[in-house]
Symmetry: C2
Subunit: 335 residues, 2 copies
């Protein structure tokens, strides 16, 4: 049981030192000084993203194994890099840790985090740790993590949300709604779900689409891209707003994951697939980076109707109905 911040940092640093041998050369000075020192790769721009992982918001202690919490904490950031077509270089991890989690649970969290970091070539270069506070003497402290991912892409080449044109087709990688479906089954019976095949855990162990994003960027296939973290209806609305357009989605074209309902695919969130647009003349391969790709709709010029959501759903019967953003958003009581 680690009891002081110094011991915690030493334990984390020791694990990182073992990891460093396989790490990237970008990190010139890692954990242990006032700052880390990074040498930016020549001719490349840095892409930086930060993502919070909060107990009772992004995970529940009684539903999620600690390894899954660590894995998902890192993947939240990696998925943002994937959406830009960037390569992950370094990560920083700030942890607010309840005293009773500082032993076995924290080790499990770090196991999950480090395993994913190794797999995707990320070096942990620094961070901060503190004991999580309680709101009241009788209360319980909550775990919180903030992950900072620093990646890179050739200067001027990173994919953005705002590059789509009217007429572009809309694509997604992989399947949709799997994370929401697994979360539902997890809520029903956490114990059963932990025993499932590790490869079929879209919620507990999602995979960031780094290869797919890197290929879309390198081959200049996509005009705009975003990752599906909040749900298709919300993330596509972000892409529409950034591009000054609206979009139409064909219900019949949506690649539903096993066990997923239409609502899971539209609003479920946390699928961490890539949503991107491409010119109608661009040949998009059937799989990118080993992941199937499906065309699901098209971009249109903005409607003149005020307050109409920027996304329409085209039903199997040929009707066009507005699809308001229904994905994950904090401060709406959905958390």
């Amino acid at each position: 049981m680690k009891t002081t911040e110094g011991e915690l940092i030493r334990a984390i640093r020791e694990r990182v030192t073992r990891q460093r041998a396989h790490g990237d050369r970008i990190v010139r000075l890692g954990i242990g000084d006032d700052c880390a020192i990074l040498r930016p790769p020549r001719g490349r721009e840095l892409t930086v993203t930060t993502d919070l992982t909060l107990e009772n918001v992004h995970f529940r202690r009684d539903w999620h194994p600690a390894q899954s919490v660590g894995h998902r904490c890192l993947v939240r950031g990696l998925s943002d890099l994937a959406a830009m077509g960037a390569r992950p270089d370094a990560a920083f991890l700030s942890l607010s840790i309840p005293r009773e989690l500082a032993g076995r649970w924290l080790n499990g969290f770090l196991d999950g985090w480090m395993l994913a970091a190794k797999r995707y070539g990320v070096v942990l270069a620094g961070g901060d740790t503190a004991e999580a506070p309680r709101a009241a003497k009788a209360g319980r402290a909550l775990f919180a993590a903030d992950v900072i991912l620093i990646g890179s892409a050739p200067a001027g080449k990173a994919l953005r949300r705002g590059g789509a044109s009217a007429g572009d087709l809309v694509y997604v990688t992989g399947e949709l709604g799997g994370a929401a479906a697994e979360l539902r089954s997890l809520a029903r019976n956490p114990a059963v779900d932990r025993k499932r095949d590790l490869k079929r855990h879209p919620h507990l162990y999602p995979e960031p689409r780094l290869q797919a994003g890197a290929r879309l960027m390198a081959r200049a296939l996509a005009t705009a891209a975003i990752d599906l973290s909040d749900g298709l209806s919300t993330d596509l609305a972000h892409l529409c707003q950034a591009s000054g357009l609206r979009a139409e989605i064909d219900v019949s074209a949506l690649p539903l994951a096993q066990g997923a309902a239409l609502d899971d695919a539209l609003h479920g969130g946390e699928d961490y697939e890539l949503l991107f647009t491409a010119r109608p003349g661009t040949r998009i391969p059937a799989t990118i980076g080993g992941i199937p790709v499906h065309a699901i709709g098209r971009m249109r010029n903005r409607s003149r109707e005020k307050n109409r959501p920027p996304v329409d759903l085209c039903t199997r019967e040929g009707a066009r109905v507005p699809l308001p953003p229904g994905g994950w958003e904090h401060f709406r009581g959905r958390a």
Copy 2:
């Protein structure tokens, strides 16, 4: 009152857009995409640091004005850059916000943060926001922030903790113990303290020693440096460990702040002054970047006594007594 994450982000982005005009050119793409894009300055290395600011650990809602919490949140990171001699370029801010603080309090926090950011030339380039969770239905949610500072220094020139040699003199900028003394008076009567002269708030409104650090780096005056965030006894021990040395501090040489006791200066923490070492032959000016500098001791070869703390205190009577690290450390119940 901001109620959704989208509105919150829009409000923050609007403030940042106003700020951007004065900002640095390093941020090519700020808030609003999956990642920010930074163009690293040519010939420079990046220095990166992250620092948590947790309610009931680093501040108390009933003691600290929201503006002070925002100011201190940023300064924690800036002080780490100062200790490396780095120039601040960009910041990222992750916020976990209790619902009842999302209005006026959050605005005060952002006022304090943005005012300091403008003053020290920092551009807010991104971050994350979420509604802070409660541990139980009847419980209270706690505010948490994680600040990420990205700075830069000429390649290979950043000051580090591990460069000191035996015989080097130990220096500090400014005065010691002022933050601890103000915190004590704040605990006695928060209302009175808020009315004090704004320039005399070492705890509520500390100043990062960015100019002093930059000059020490540029003129190659210092052999090692660290900022005083945890307290002299702890931070000097870190510098000793990194340099493989021990140190002696002269009690009579310590520049005590007004109202500060010796204990405040030795263990108080959060003074955010710079502690640095220099060769005995190096002429250190009496003030650096407008801040007085005092020699307070010297570095020595490591003692052979096992478990002896690396710092000794030389009393006015000529005695040499071990000074165990007594500064701020989490997981020790001092928080």
